[in-house]
Amino acid sequence: ALTEKLNSVLTQLRRRGALTERDLDEGLRQVRLVLLEADVHYKVVKKFIDDVKQKALGAQILESLTPGQQIVKIVRDELVQILGGTRADLHLTQWPAVILLVGLQGSGKTTMAGKLAKYLAEREQKRVLLAAADLQRPAAIEQLRQLGAKLGYPVYAQGRTPLEVAEGALQEARKSSFDVLVVDTAGRLHIDEELMSELQEMKQRLQPAETLLVVDAMTGQEAVTIAQTFDQRLKLTGIILTKLDGDARGGAALSMVTITGRPIKFVGVGEKLEDLEVFHPDRMAERILG
């Protein structure tokens, strides 16, 4: 783990008391490697290390900790601060509240639509309508239909285009007094002009309370570009990180939150519909630091 690594590296610098700049540089060199191995973006790591160094040099250091422990504490606190900075609950301000799920192919959107529906229905007693607006992937509508059937929630899928389905679902939600409408969309590349424009149009027409980017926790360096592009085109309200039940370190979380400032609201921790958790910044920090 990071503490052991730092302690062995800083063994020669076994002085107690305040960290010297030399201890700090040596220790932060190790932290940099750990973060890069965890998939945190190169530029985000650079900024993070610079910021931590500034904080550490000016900080009140606890006399009882070794230099290694001191560095880990500062780093972990800074990580938690960045990851947990903004409040991360769903703001379902309008009625019906629309939640729009977007993201790259295979990130876990359709499954997440089911998970969020279940969460809101069971935890908050909401009446939820699901909209199957992915008309492009083979059996995507069927997939959401089966999830809806399993949960006992209706799935709206009428329309010849994704926009028609989304708008039709919103009308249905209003007409039949649903509290929440969760819209599943087709996976798409952030560089696909046509599909990104379609999403902008959909957001414009739905005016969602939440626009959530669903991202695979094993995403590498490209997480920055992906999040930034989706955010610039759509103005996200949050991020959902999936497949955290694996062993991916999830450094993409730090990259995306740092670059977009959008909070991570939920995490997917399995394939079943109950495998949804609220995001915990401290647990994520631990995971990234390995």
Partner: protein
């Protein structure tokens, strides 16, 4: 990407390091590559940045050329049997359709069977069924919740009985860290091998090209479980560079057979080290 005429100094090396790391090559592999670059540049007296870049390409191509590998297609009249595996959402089901299309178009393989070995996920069978229809393959499936090994077994029997050219066994996405799911995959492999009296011709790991360093852990564990014969890297039509394959190629010696560059049945390309390196840089 690098201004020409710059000299080989620490700043230039740092810039090259950034290019490699942001391409998902990973810290360890990047350090190794940059060291090799410094040594080779010194040995050849290379100083100018554009010459250094060519040297870097040369080193990367050398590392990746051994990873090129063609599909093992049978020519003895027996069906070529493929096991398609990988983590959730990596592109397995879609890649099966692409592989079938590739075999039909480029190798004249007419009679192809798909085995719906994902008996767990919602609409997995339907999804494969639509692809089967589109590319003209036959589908073998049982109902959701049934044993994937049983589906695979029936598909093999049918492939042998009907003299199919190829059989593709689709499996459910699974995280490599889940012991029981990895055991299930091993069982499918064993059951099919036993019935065939030989190993499957290809056990292809489908790797999502946007994956970071976790790709290495995936390759390692799937290889340990079923002895992977090759990798298909998908979603390289996006902006991710798939640099993790450098580490996978050198550490595990697994061939990269093909790459996925889109969502249609014809979006499959051969893996070519030179092209890959040019795109990476």
């Amino acid at each position: 990407v690098l201004q020409p005429g710059r000299r080989l100094d620490d700043a230039l090396l740092a810039q090259l390091e950034e290019i490699l790391i942001t391409a998902d090559v990973g810290v360890e592999a990047t350090t190794e590559i940059v060291q090799a670059l410094k040594a080779r540049a010194a040995a050849r007296g290379v100083q100018d940045s554009s010459a250094v870049m060519e040297l870097l390409k040369e080193i990367l191509k050398e590392r990746l050329r051994p990873a090129e590998g063609a599909l093992h297609l049978r020519s003895d009249g027996q069906p070529t049997v493929f096991l398609i595996l990988g983590v959730n959402g990596s592109g397995k089901t879609t890649t099966i359709a692409k592989l079938a299309q590739h075999l039909k178009d480029d190798f004249g393989k007419r009679k192809i069977i798909f085995a719906a070995g994902d008996t767990f996920r919602a609409a997995a069978v339907e999804q494969l069924g639509i692809w089967a229809e589109r590319v003209g393959a036959q589908l073998v499936h049982h109902k959701t919740g049934s044993d994937p090994s049983a589906v695979a077994f029936e598909a093999v029997e049918r492939a042998l009985r009907e003299g199919a050219d190829a059989l593709f066994i689709d499996t459910a996405g699974r995280l490599h860290t889940k012991h029981n799911l990895m055991e299930e995959l091993k069982k499918i492999n064993r059951v099919v091998e036993k019935r065939l009296g030989r190993a499957m011709d290809e056990r292809l790991l489908i790797l999502d090209g946007t994956t970071g360093q976790n790709a290495i852990s995936q390759a390692k564990l799937f290889h340990e479980a079923v002895s992977v014969t090759g990798i298909v890297v998908t979603k390289l039509d996006g902006t991710a560079k798939g640099g993790s394959i450098l580490q996978i190629a050198s550490a595990l010696k697994l061939p990269i057979k093909l790459i996925g560059v889109g969502e249609r049945a014809d979006d499959l390309r051969e893996f070519k080290a030179d092209e890959f390196v040019e795109a990476l840089l």
